[in-house]
């Protein structure tokens, strides 16, 4: 089934389009299906941008409500999902602006970069390094690490690598050029890699009974 879907040509109608048409025809239960299908992703994206759970909860509600109200503006030639993500990104940024009143927040924030810098930390990682941590420790490490990225990088990484949007879709969603998305994605990946090295690099000796999350000793 999934194989057939993935090789289906552009003429094949995406199942979401049929659902959208049913909603437009007054069938609210079809919208229920769409909400259920994407609420987790929208929540995740909102968390990535706002970094605040209450805000993310509000964003999920507002984004789906706004999408519902604007559904007649949805063009069938773009994917419902990317259209919804764009709304969710905008709602998330609005939330941030409200929280930090007076401070402009945009996707263009904090993106001073020098191109193509070669990573400094050379240490190789242990095989399956994530297995040295419990699920909740690992989740905490991953959250802390990605939260340290500049927002403009974080959002690109979240959409492109976590949510699986294409480079073009990410660019369209964020109102950025394709080269800008590519440049930020590379910087984001390299920065995350470097930061995760603290936790994942191969230890000189196997860890004994020490703390699972080792202090950042200058070993």
């Amino acid at each position: 089934m999934s194989t057939i879907q993935s090789i289906a040509g552009e003429n094949e109608q995406h199942p979401d389009v049929a659902l959208v048409e049913r909603v437009r025809g007054g069938d609210v239960s079809a919208y229920d299906t769409l909400v259920r299908k994407y609420e987790r992703q929208v929540f995740r994206i909102a968390q990535h941008i706002t970094q605040n759970r209450e805000d993310a909860e509000d964003v999920v509600q507002d984004a789906f409500l706004k999408a519902y109200e604007k559904l007649d503006q949805f063009q069938g030639n773009s994917k419902f999902y990317t259209w919804l993500v764009r709304i969710a990104v905008n709602e998330s940024l609005m939330r941030l602006r409200k929280r930090r009143t007076g401070k402009m927040v945009s996707i263009d924030e904090d993106v001073e970069t020098e191109e193509g810098s070669v990573p400094r930390d050379l240490a190789d990682w242990a095989p399956d390094p994530e297995q040295n941590y419990t699920q909740s420790e690992l989740a905490e490490i991953l959250r802390k690490t990605i939260q340290g990225l500049p927002q403009g990088f974080r959002v690109v990484f979240a959409l492109r690598d976590v949510e699986g949007l294409s480079t073009e879709e990410t660019a369209e969603t964020l109102g950025l050029s394709v080269p800008a998305v590519k440049s930020r994605l590379l910087r984001a990946r390299l920065q995350l890699r470097e930061r995760l090295s603290r936790y994942f690099k191969r230890k000189a000796a196997p860890a004994g009974n020490g703390p699972a999350i080792a202090p950042l000793s200058g070993s």
Binding site: G26, V28, Y31, D32, V35, R36, E39, R40, F43, R44, Q47, H48, A56, E57, V60, Q61, F64, L65, Y68, E69, E115, G116, S117, V118, P119, L122, A123, D124, W125, P129, E130, Q135, L138, A139, L142, R143, I146, F157, D161, V162, G164, K182, L185, L186, R189, L190, L192, R193, L196, S197, F200
Partner: protein, 78 residues
């Protein structure tokens, strides 16, 4: 190829969007450069870890609450 050139094409290699000739050049560099090999492998691993671990889980009860709130607001709106 220098390490800087290699790094600038790292994403294209990871995302498999290089042509055959470019790929051959990149692989040739990798053969002699442990630094870039480590960078490539650990960057791939970074992406894989973020893809495969849910860091912002939506717990079932919260999900149901949000879902109900959304649908209630939509129905009220129409």
């Amino acid at each position: 190829m220098t390490c800087t050139e290699f790094i600038s094409l790292l994403d294209d290699l990871i995302d498999d969007s290089v042509n055959d000739r470019m790929r051959a050049d990149l692989l040739a560099h990798l053969k002699d450069c442990e630094h870039c090999e480590v960078t490539l492998n650990t960057t791939r691993k970074t992406i894989e870890i973020y893809r495969s671990h849910e860091i912002y889980d939506l717990p079932p009860d919260l999900r149901e609450r949000l879902h109900a709130a959304i649908m209630a607001r939509c129905k009220r709106g129409c």
